[in-house]
Structures are given as structure tokens and as C-alpha cells.
Symmetry: C2
Subunit: 235 residues, 2 copies
């Protein structure tokens, strides 16, 4: 067994969480990665998370199934809601604009599961790749959310009762997509392994038109890093 | 559709959550009950929750499945950990004593799911039957936990962004078991429908010896209300 401290890392297989994992590894944590199959329609994320966890030397990777679709209506979980396409970049992530791809309370549920596992593992550190700048206006990607969850974690658990301190790390929270890509590239993240698209084609390629694709492409452009994304052949 | 405001009520089928449901109904809420099959070994709770939701006039009752056992080790989810029996009453719930029946971060996960459903339903009120006095020392049954979750809910969600106020009601939090039973009896709760035991017999009857059974029996004794619990014929 490693003598490094353990951390639980929420890993979606996207660009942000893969970078968060690389940062946690660099900080010397033994990383236990948790990917949640929460009913998202874009399941290629799950395969991407497996590739990334292996490439970045995770100590362990678990895929946990929980179908949020019956409780949490969103374009990411409900086939009858369309994923918005071709939105102007200055409209994505505008203050107060919560898009239809927001999954109600999703990050609260994901962090709660990570917290449960952390307690069982004896880990005191959670890592999450949320990011406020290019975050499409999601309420649960803001610094206030991360702080509130950390406060909660410290009263909700045995560690809290025993006076230990649980930390929720969101290292990317104030970075632009370009900054994330530059940091991750310096840490050796292979972004060709990651998947960000909300509406991939039948061939698993990215659509290039949803908010996630547009923010991602802009990030590579601004970072001056070649975009390794495989786009769908679908017209 | 009812014009009463909607609430999401976490309903385990036990004595406390059934009383919380009766209180929410009395306060005029249209109650959407959520029972989570989280991997607990005592599944008779699920059946009890169905009976209670119907008897108390829930608008809707959903049973949501999510197997916490692989992430959260506890005597309630792991067959190799024994449920403690015959503990002295003054030892149950002692400050700083978190027992083996504590399920890591369970109430955080349950409230997160309730929050997701509340957002989807447009409900602003959550009810949970947690209770600190006779709560076996669980960290996530304390007032500080409920307050921290309410704070989180108000930054984690669309409602929070839009300036609405989500409330987490824990009406029993400072009551003794006897007070809970007296309040619930006055509201017409039939405690014969509820199930509290952590380790029921093969016949579904209560063991009479786990912390939950002991606190429950003491509550009926102190309340001066006949105990309708069906105890197991198992020796």
C-alpha cells in the first residue's frame, strides 16, 4: 500500500476533471477516482474516464451507477430535451443564465458520493474539476458552492465529529479553459483521451457545436495547443 | 393538480420520517415522498415506507435505487459487520460515539437526491426526520448538519441563483423519541405501519435488541403509548 495520502477524485473523463486528477497526482496524492454513470446520454464519457485514470496513474478507478434521470430533468438526461447548439460564445456562461444542460443538484450528488467513499477510505481530500469562468452558468460550479460543500462535509461526517478537516479542492475553479489546458499540458495530460461533448455522434466523435465543444475548442485556440479532439463524421 | 405548495419528504418507513411526513401534511404541503433503497440490509423499511406514504396521503411516492454498499462501509450495508445488540441506553447516542451502524455520508447523499427532485418538481421545501437526541451519535443527524445542508442547497441550485429560498425542515431534530411519538400520535400516525429495526428476523419482525429497537421501545414507554411493534419470533 502506498504511504501517500489518499484523495478521492471525481472524474468525468472530460478535460476539466482529467486536469484536476493530474494536479492531485502532482500534489502527491494516491488518487481514488470515482466516475458516476448518472444517466447522462453521452456515455462515451465513461470510456474516456477509464483511459484517463489509467494514463494518469490512478490508484483505483470505480464507476458507480445511479440513474438520476427520474429525479433530475435535464438535456443531459432526458432525450426529449435538445442540447443547445451553436450558441454565441459570449452567451455561454452568462451570469444568471442556467442552461437546459444543467442537471439539478448533480454536483451535490456527485460530491456526496465522493464524500461517502472518502470516509470509507480514510481520505480527507476530495478533488473536483468544476470551473466557474467557462462553466455555462451552472450554479454548482461556483466557488460559493465548493465552500458550502466543504463546510457541510466537515459537519456531516465522522471526521467532522473527531475534529479532522476535510478539504474540497477545486484547483481549476478560477481558470479559463485555455489556462486549464496549459496547466494540464505541462503536467502531461493527453487531452486526446478525454471527452467533453454533450451530444456525440454515433461514432463517438464530438459534435463541435454544443456549449461544451465550443468552450473546449476556444480553449485550445487560446492556449495555442493543437486540438486533439476527434470530431464526429456526422454532418 | 393540487394548489398546495410541494415538498419533498425523505421517507425511510421508520418512526421518525413517518412523523416528519405527518407534520409536512399538517403544514399543508403536497408531499412527494422519496425512499432510497441504498443497499440497507433491512429492506422491510421499503415496504413500510409504501404503507406509510399511502396512509398519510402522500401525493406521490418514489423508491429510488442506489447501492451505497460499495462506497460506504457500515453495519447497515455490509453483512460482515455485526449490528450491535443490547447496548445500555445511556451509551446509545453518547457524544462522540459514532457507531458501526453509521453509513458514511448517507444523509448527505439522501438530501442531495431529494434536492435534485425538488428542483425538478419546483419544490422549495425538503423534510427530513433526523433527530439529534436519540440519534445514536450520527454526525449527520445534528442541527449543524441540517443548517449546513440548507446553506449548500441555496448556492447549489437554480433556485439559489434566482434568489429563491430553499428550506430544509427537520421538525423532530430536538425532540426525544417520546415527544416524537406523542406528536405523531396526535397527528394520526399509525406506528404499527412503520419499521425501525436494523436487524429484523426472517419473518420481518423487529429484533428488539439493536439501538433502533431499544430507542423505539423506550420512546413508547416514556410516551405512555402502547407499542404496536411486531417483534420477531426468532429467539
Amino acid at each position: 500500500m502506498s504511504d501517500q495520502p489518499r484523495a478521492v477524485v471525481l472524474l468525468s473523463g472530460g478535460l476539466d476533471s482529467s486536469t484536476a486528477l493530474a494536479i492531485a497526482r502532482r500534489q502527491g496524492f494516491d488518487c481514488h477516482c470515482l466516475t458516476v454513470r448518472y444517466g447522462q446520454l453521452h456515455e462515451c464519457e465513461i470510456e474516456a474516464s477509464r483511459r484517463v485514470a489509467e494514463a494518469l496513474g490512478a490508484a483505483e478507478h470505480r464507476v458507480f451507477a445511479l440513474d438520476l434521470a427520474p429525479l433530475a430533468r435535464s438535456a443531459l438526461t432526458s432525450p426529449d430535451l435538445a442540447v443547445p447548439k451553436d450558441r454565441p460564445l459570449d452567451q455561454i456562461g452568462a451570469e444568471g443564465d442556467v442552461p437546459v444542460t444543467y442537471v439539478p443538484a448533480r454536483n451535490t450528488v456527485l460530491l456526496a458520493l465522493a464524500l461517502a467513499w472518502a470516509e470509507t477510505l480514510g481520505a480527507r481530500d476530495l478533488f473536483v474539476g468544476v470551473n466557474v469562468l467557462d462553466a455555462s452558468g451552472y450554479p454548482d460550479c461556483r466557488p460559493a458552492f465548493v465552500e458550502a460543500f466543504e463546510d457541510l462535509a466537515n459537519v456531516a461526517t465522522r471526521a467532522g465529529v473527531e475534529g479532522a478537516r476535510i478539504r474540497v479542492h477545486a484547483p481549476l475553479i478560477e481558470w479559463s479553459k485555455a489556462e486549464i489546458i496549459r496547466h494540464g499540458s505541462a503536467l502531461g495530460v493527453d487531452y486526446g483521451l478525454t471527452h467533453s461533448c454533450y451530444d456525440p455522434g454515433p461514432d463517438g466523435g464530438a459534435c463541435g457545436r454544443c456549449d461544451a465543444c465550443r468552450l473546449r475548442r476556444k480553449g485550445f485556440d487560446e492556449a495555442g495547443v493543437p486540438d486533439p479532439t476527434r470530431y464526429s463524421a456526422r454532418p
